[in-house]
């Protein structure tokens, strides 16, 4: 089963290496990992999608927590959460295909962010499933390039900032 973990960590050199090295060394099956700034200066926020049974995921969370630079780890899989991914899709777009691609993009509330002579670049934000379906529909046109960010997640509601939302 897929689990979503959110980890907060100190924004210091080598911390990403510590995390990825841990996953590799313990042979954890990580599907995606995204990292960026959080609302607190000096603290990065990482969203990790991991495949495995509850025991494996619990191990991942506990081993992550053991890293000195990691300040908090929460499994949000069972919590109501906003889950999003962003993808940039460059599609081959000959004369006849353009309007059709743009229509598809509209249906998915995706944006065309670049128009080239022979291609269109579409930006889509949504759940992985939504991104998957658009990709599936665009595939027949020919996808030239694809960049997906991987999942980011945030627990819904609450008003006390991260600490309140991320109570395990």
């Amino acid at each position: 089963m897929r689990h979503t973990l959110i980890a907060l960590m100190e924004d210091k050199p080598g911390v990403l290496n510590r995390v990825s090295s841990l996953f590799r060394r313990r042979n954890y099956n990580i599907e995606s990992l995204t990292v960026g700034h959080s609302e607190t200066p000096g603290i990065s926020r990482m969203t990790i999608v991991v495949n495995g049974d509850d025991r494996i995921v619990q191990q991942v969370a506990r081993q992550l927590s053991k890293l000195i630079n990691v300040t908090q780890v929460v499994d949000v899989s069972d919590k109501p959460a906003v889950i999003r991914e962003l993808a940039l899709i460059k599609v081959r777009a000959g004369h006849g295909a353009r309007s059709e691609i743009m229509e598809l993009a509209n249906v998915f509330r995706a944006k065309v962010v670049d128009v080239g002579k022979t291609s269109l670049t579409v930006e889509i934000t949504g759940t992985e499933e939504k991104v998957d379906s658009l990709i599936g529909l665009l595939q027949p046109f020919g996808i030239e390039e694809l960049a997906r960010t991987g999942r980011v997640a945030m627990v819904r509601g609450g008003n006390g900032g991260q600490a309140a939302n991320l109570q395990p």
């Binding site: 100190e10 080598g14 191990q59 506990r62």
Partner: protein, 569 residues
């Protein structure tokens, strides 16, 4: 106070209570060594950085204090790796300080540059690269704090050469600020109550005492629990010494080469309480087949150990020094007469099969170990190496004292014993320290005999010399058609090697010479080496075959005239 980076390191070490450092100098630590003579720290110059790490580890295991080792950049640092991995696997508090090439040329593949923080990432509890002198005192403070608290472990501090040479207005912090480093602090009164209830209800309870009991200094608390509830105790290899092996409730070591009666007790217990043990595969065999009949309670200071190797019914995450005193009052006094009697029966049977109960003129390693125990009455610290010699030591030396056995358990590092013993003897100059080692492992760090002489350490060294990498040879004999590939081992005349270093040595070829040789070692003030030429193809029995559950043991083949019945298993 204005100090250079190098002075700041030594000043910080002094404030951490460090009196001894094991190391080797080099270009990237030359500033550190230049400043060293001004500080009240004894530097033990080792002959290999691996040995420096083992010595610091041995020092830490013997005392519970942080052991410190030091090496230069590049090969000096990489030579530490095996020693740090050894300390990491066995949760030993070590701080390693390495020099790094100057900050401006880091990343350029400079002479003797290596990414030692990258290399040691998975084998240290934490590590640091210091490129800013302002961070140096804080980093040293944190390194010692992390190394010794919680589940102890090694921490490496890599210091760029220009940082050592720079100057700072030195202030040593009083406290650490580590928001991501939390020691267990949850309220565990409810799992402790549950644990007591489970123990009170159990008919055939058994405790597995691991290294964590010793690391926590909870030996007295363990004894209080054991004696109140009359629970038998099996130990892991590193748990030896957690309870005196002379205690009637101590069953000795369990696992792959544990006593058959101990493993039998494990497999018939209805409740197993593991204290500071991580269910290592050498203890459990295949986790899926490990004691399926028993309920399991796991007490550990490291939450990541819970359910890692074996799923348990109840977990108590906390320091044994807190958990056990809280548990004891809740536990009912019991006698468990039937259960203990049953274990005693198995024990008697094992005793009859003991090879020392058989008459022989052969020079058996088990006899050597038992005679060392006999001559010293166990009032010594034994540092054992890895392989058959380690198992014979564990089986035949009766450890009644705390921290009386020091050995590389998790990593199983051959070559550990001699340098680790140097660390032990440096820490405890008034104790008698014995090294038990095979001819293979001894040759892996034999150069440290020079350090023994240099520091005038009265180590007693017993080589159980069978001319083989014996444990592998045993596996080849039992499971690989007797094909001795890569295991026959040429060795030097160890007594003469010792003599060349200035150490008295003897070669023992006959059983009758064993006792006089040990007596001579004991009568000698300085170091002494005995090369025991033991029976070459003696095996370690009993043995759990790889992949088999722990109670399926290969027992010593029964002689034809023996009346014992065939294996139960």
């Amino acid at each position: 106070m204005r100090l250079t980076g190098a002075q700041a390191v030594w000043e910080s070490l002094v404030r951490e209570g460090v009196t001894t450092v094991f190391g080797i100098s080099g270009g990237a630590v030359i500033h550190l060594y230049h400043a060293l003579p001004d500080y009240p720290i004894h530097h033990v110059l080792m002959r290999h950085e691996q040995a420096a790490a083992h010595a610091a580890d041995g020092y830490a295991r013997a005392t519970g204090r942080v052991g410190v080792c030091m090496a230069t950049s590049g090969p000096g640092a990489t030579n530490l790796v095996t020693g740090l991995a050894t300390a990491y696997m066995d949760s030993s508090p070590v701080v390693a300080i390495t020099g790094q090439v100057p900050t401006p040329i880091i990343g350029t593949d400079a002479f003797q540059e290596v990414d030692i923080t990258g290399i040691t990432l998975p084998i240290t509890k934490h590590n640091y690269l210091v490129t800013d002198i302002e961070e140096l005192p804080t980093v040293i403070k944190e390194a010692f704090y992390i190394a010794r608290t919680g589940r102890p472990g090694p921490v490496l501090v890599d210091i760029a050469k220009d940082v050592q040479a720079a100057a700072i207005e030195y202030v040593y912090p009083d406290t650490v600020n580590l928001p991501g480093y939390r020691l267990p602090q949850e309220d565990i009164s409810s799992p402790i109550q549950r644990a007591a209830q489970m123990l009170n209800e159990a008919q055939r309870p058994l405790i597995i005492a691991g290294h964590g009991v010793i690391l926590a200094g909870a030996e007295d608390d363990l004894l209080a629990l054991v004696e109140k509830a009359n629970v038998p105790v099996a130990t892991t290899l590193l748990g030896i010494g957690a309870i005196p092996e002379t205690h009637p409730l101590c069953l000795g070591m369990a696992g792959m080469h544990g006593e058959a009666y101990t493993n039998q007790a494990l497999s018939e217990a209805d409740l197993i309480i593991a204290l500071g043990s991580r269910f290592d595969d050498r203890l459990t065999g295949p986790p899926s087949q490990f004691v399926r009949q028993a309920r399991l309670i796991h007490v550990d200071v490291d939450p990541a150990e819970i359910d890692k190797n074996v799923a348990v019914n109840l977990a108590v995450v906390g320091d044994l020094k807190d958990v056990l005193p809280a548990l004891v009052p809740l536990v009912e006094e019991k006698d468990h007469t039937a259960w203990l009697a049953r274990i005693q029966e198995w024990r008697n049977e094992s005793a009859q099969r003991d090879i020392l109960a058989q008459e022989t003129d052969e020079l058996l390693p088990q006899y050597v170990v038992r005679q060392i125990w006999h001559a010293t009455q166990g009032n010594v610290i034994v540092v054992s190496d890895v392989g058959q010699n380690q198992m014979w030591e564990a089986q035949y030396f009766i450890h009644h004292r705390r921290r009386g056995l020091i050995s590389s358990g998790g990593l199983g590092t051959m070559g550990f014993a001699l340098p680790a013993a140097i660390g032990v003897q440096m820490a405890l100059p008034h104790e008698q320290v014995w090294v038990t080692v095979g001819d293979g492992g001894f040759q892996m760090n034999i150069q440290e005999l020079a350090t023994v002489v240099q520091e005038k350490l009265p180590l007693k060294i017993a080589i159980l010399n069978n001319g083989y990498l014996g444990m592998v040879r045993q596996w080849q004999q039992l499971f690989f058609e007797g094909r001795y590939s890569g295991t026959p081992l040429l060795g030097p005349d160890f007594a003469r090697v010792a003599e060349a270093y200035g150490i008295a040595g003897l070669t023992v070829r006959e059983k009758s010479q064993v006792v006089p040789a040990i007596a001579q070692a004991l009568a000698t003030d300085g170091p002494f080496l005995i090369d025991f030429r033991i029976v070459q193809e003696e095996n370690v029995y009993p043995m759990v075959a790889p992949g088999a559950p722990v109670h399926h043991m290969i027992r010593r083949p029964v002689p034809a005239n023996d009346v014992l019945k065939e294996d139960r298993t």
